[in-house]
Amino acid sequence: MNMKTSTADIRGIATLPLLLTAAAIILLFLLPKFVTSTYALHIMILIFISVIMGSAWNILGGYTGQYSVGHAAYFGVGAYTTKILLQYRHIAPWYGVWAGVAAAVATGLVIGSICFRIRGPYFVLASIAVAEIFRVSALNLPGLTNGAEGILITEVPPFKIGNTVITDFMSKVPFYYIGLVIAIAVILATRLVQNSKLGYYFQAIREDQDAAHSLGINLTLYKNAALAISAVFTSLAGSLYGLYVGFIDPGTVLDLGLSVQIVMTCIIGGIGTILGPMIGAVVLVPFSEALRSNMIAQALIDSGLVKEDSPLGTFLKEQLSHAHVLIYGILLVVVILFMPDGILGFIRKLFASKRKETA
């Protein structure tokens, strides 16, 4: 093979994703200038939150192999800390958020030092149990969390630097940009981890804990490091959610369902890759929104495929939106059966086999 073409190929492969990433980021920053639909912005913000949660989980679950199904704990701790400080102490969220991060990391280190002693499925169960402790505690500490009634704050105080008001949070746009910036930050953090000693150690722990241990890796230290990084971003996602949606209660931000949803974003997209959680979020968020809002049933009827007054039509119209959890479940089964490495792994395999055919 000619050496010149091969180096050019390598360079081409390296610069193309960089250019695409830059283009995508610029597009996303410009998007609110062109898209004024609040619903579209709403979906985008939910996608950002999902990307942040998924990527954060991915550092612990995907790279380090510790499948936590209790990440709602860090999400909830972030959301509650920020909102409690705002509600009862009148501390502005841009300080409260960092208090939330600190609380989530502290929580993580306590949980980690207990749960990381056990491995595999036992760790999964322990992570669920600990998150449930947080949910039940939040329900039963009304003095702190307002219990099952939750906390409702719809007005976020304006963000000022000096006397200049940067934003008053009256529209969705500021939340959009905050979500975008944090999403970029978590992806950058993942990249940094991947290309460092931490990343190598995390993956070694994922592949074989005993081998990693014998190669000089302090398992407790590095697992806790992964959890701490993960907790920082999960907590930020929680705070952003709490401020954006306005209302939080233990049944939403500390729920087991949320923990499962975080894991699913990664499994469906592709575990242990930078792109995986992004793909998962981009697929799952609009999909579940469409199901919940009855958009799919309406579309089937509008397209004439299903008659509105037929039994199937009435069934779809009345029941499909209630079935979104069921369909979610079916989707998960399909992905696990047919795309064990997630959508990203599936696409890569497709490309690899195409390349072989042409070669």
């Binding site: 005993d210 014998s214 000089g216």
Partner: protein, 239 residues
């Protein structure tokens, strides 16, 4: 000078003594063979030495430092590293990344770790397989990878647990050469092996375990001539 001293080490699992009252020393620069029938307690002794189990009684002294109670990662950092009887490749990582994980024990820089890894990969002659996934290697290459990875941690003492297990004669021969090469680098080794021909060739000294106890110790010639050892391996003769 003794690099490693095993002082009256015992390990009990419930009522079973997997190791009882074992003492010997491994001198700087030597290759020590550790043999014995199945269930003699060889791997248990390795686990006690490298921190996977705390010994129930006795002491492990390495480089004049008491090792009891240290975790495997600390043991590795102090310069004692082991391989596994059942190989443990980091399956979804490449060959070079596997060895880099070992090298990162001594450096924080990926560039430096890569250089160190390449050096050890050359020692075991896996240069052709740098980017292969460790999980895709055949058994012979996995064993070599394991040795390269553990060498990259820059051990003073290397403990090899049956590196020839499951290999064909040609592959075993390569591993024998490898052990001798590593010995020439000045690295002290302790080798568990069932392949008698191999152990006789590489070892300067041999310790024989049987039912958890030390049965004999000596140079290869003495061990082959030792009646107790022959009995343990072949059973009582009726004649």
């Amino acid at each position: 000078m003794a690099l490693l001293e095993i002082r009256r080490v015992s390990k009990f699992f419930g009522g079973l003594a997997a190791n009882s009252d074992i003492s010997f020393e491994v001198r700087q620069g030597m290759i020590m063979g550790l043999i014995g029938p199945n269930g003699a307690g060889k791997t248990t002794l390795f686990n006690c030495i490298t921190g996977y189990y705390p010994p129930s009684r006795g002491e492990v002294v390495f480089n004049d430092k008491r090792m009891n109670g240290l975790h495997p990662d600390a043991v590795c950092k102090l310069g004692m590293a082991r391989t596994w009887q059942k190989v443990r490749p980091l399956a979804r990582m490449s060959v070079v990344d596997n060895v880099m994980v070992g090298a990162l024990c001594r450096t924080n820089s990926l560039t430096k770790a890569r250089e160190m890894a390449m050096e050890q990969i050359k020692v075991v002659r896996l240069e052709q397989r740098l980017d292969a996934r460790a999980g895709s290697l055949p058994i012979g290459e996995r064993k070599k990878l394991e040795v390269a990875r553990v060498l990259a941690t820059q051990p003073k003492l290397l403990l090899l647990d049956e590196v020839m297990g499951g290999l064909n004669p040609a592959e075993s021969e390569e591993i024998i050469e490898l052990i001798l090469d590593v010995g020439k680098l000045g690295i002290t080794q302790m080798v568990i092996e069932h392949n008698m021909r191999a152990i006789m060739r590489v070892s300067d000294r041999i310790v024989v375990l049987n039912s958890g106890e030390k049965l004999a110790e000596g140079n290869p010639r003495e061990i082959v001539a030792n009646k107790a050892v022959i009995q343990a391996y072949l059973g009582e003769s009726d004649a």
